[in-house]
């Protein structure tokens, strides 16, 4: 196989953020551009985490139904969350935070779960989230956790910023832009295969991590409880990392019987386990 690019033209950077390992790869991308990307991701982490009381998301959740001035990035992510809700028929709902807390996921996962409580009803996202330019409002006691959608969205945004031939992997949710070193695609592990991804996103949803005795972090909005799906891990390809993340979560919640039919018309590939 002929290489269109010299191996040394590829820059890479690995770092920890968003609760996991992040990797950036770029062909003909300056190392300082990757470093700037890392800084941006860490800044967004600080802004979006629900585990820091002074983060932008925590202050939005604590705003008590009053209009809250949001940054352009958070506004865009909240609008994307509404799109995810519509796209998924309500199965991807960032307003699951009260249910996550009731399930015992009240603090950083490393600190361990806390006692469980009665699961609350999870309202449809459009009922509790109102957005206007520069402003968001959570009503009816709604609270959001963006952990289920932010990584894919950030991977898409950072890939756009970095260049035409880059791969951004944020804790397993990734976007491969351009053809990689060979021009045919970036070699990415997917299930038990390696696929060549070109202008495609990939994401994995599962219940095998961030799990504890009697629970895990993947809440089914239909019940307010941790999912009881017969699938434990779903990886999905889509035209963006955001959509891949949405599709993976929907497929996992639907289970092995209905997931393939749902994915058939939407996804470029999937792995169910």
């Amino acid at each position: 196989m002929s290489l269109r690019y010299a191996a040394e033209a590829m820059e890479s950077l690995a770092f920890t953020a968003l609760g996991g390992e992040c990797e950036l790869y770029g062909i003909d991308v300056d190392a300082t551009a990757l470093a700037r990307g890392q800084t941006w991701i860490k800044t967004m982490h600080d802004r979006l985490t629900r585990f820091e009381p002074n983060s932008e998301v925590s202050r939005l959740n604590a705003s008590g139904g009053r209009p809250f001035a949001v940054s352009a990035d958070l506004e865009a992510l909240l609008r994307e969350s509404l799109r995810a809700f519509e796209l998924s028929g309500g199965l991807v709902n960032v307003a699951v935070l009260p249910a996550l807390l009731a399930a015992g996921y009240t603090r950083d996962f490393a600190a361990g779960p806390t006692a469980r409580a009665q699961p609350p009803r999870i309202p449809p996202l459009p009922e509790v989230l109102q957005i206007r330019p520069g402003e968001a409002r959570l009503v009816g006691g709604g609270a959001v956790d963006l952990g289920g959608i932010a990584k894919g969205w950030l991977a898409d945004r950072l890939a756009e910023r970095l260049g035409d031939n880059v791969l951004v992997n944020l804790c397993g949710d990734l976007f491969a832009r351009g053809g990689g070193e060979t021009g045919e695609g970036w070699p990415v592990g997917f299930g038990d295969k390696t696929l060549l991804l070109k202008d495609l996103g990939a994401a994995t949803s599962g219940t095998t991590k961030r799990a504890w005795a009697g629970g895990h972090h993947l809440i089914d909005p239909r019940t307010g409880l941790p999912s009881q799906s017969d699938l434990s891990e779903v990886s999905v390809l889509a035209s963006t990392a955001t959509d891949a993340e949405i599709y993976a979560k929907v497929a996992l919640l639907l289970g092995s019987r209905d997931a393939p039919t749902w994915l058939e018309s939407r996804s470029q590939g999937w792995s169910l386990a």
């Binding site: 968003l18 495609l200 994995t204 169910l272």
Partner: protein, 90 residues
């Protein structure tokens, strides 16, 4: 020959015979690196006995973890190249 001398001669003769006999045995049985192991550790039975038993991976639910079922659109190629990264649960 008195009794004591007879005993000494017999002992010397016995020691010489043992020396010559053991030397002959060693010369007649050179080490064979290709020879079978004793006991037959490489035999099928021994291999079957020493093979590790299948231990199911620990899962939260206790259900066995099946191999992933992968479906990919025709435009998505697989490769024998090593991956540089992978998608996974976070």
């Amino acid at each position: 020959m008195d009794r004591a001398s007879l005993l000494r001669a017999s002992a010397a003769l016995f020691a010489a015979a043992a020396f010559v006999g053991s030397g002959g045995y060693v010369v007649a049985h050179p080490k064979n690196d290709a020879g079978p192991l004793q006991p037959p550790a490489g035999s099928e039975v021994a291999l079957r006995m020493s093979a590790p038993s299948a231990t199911p991976a620990p899962t939260r639910t206790g259900r066995p973890t099946p191999a992933p079922r992968i479906t990919a659109a025709p435009g998505v190629k697989t490769t024998a190249l090593p991956n540089i990264t992978f998608t996974h649960v976070s």
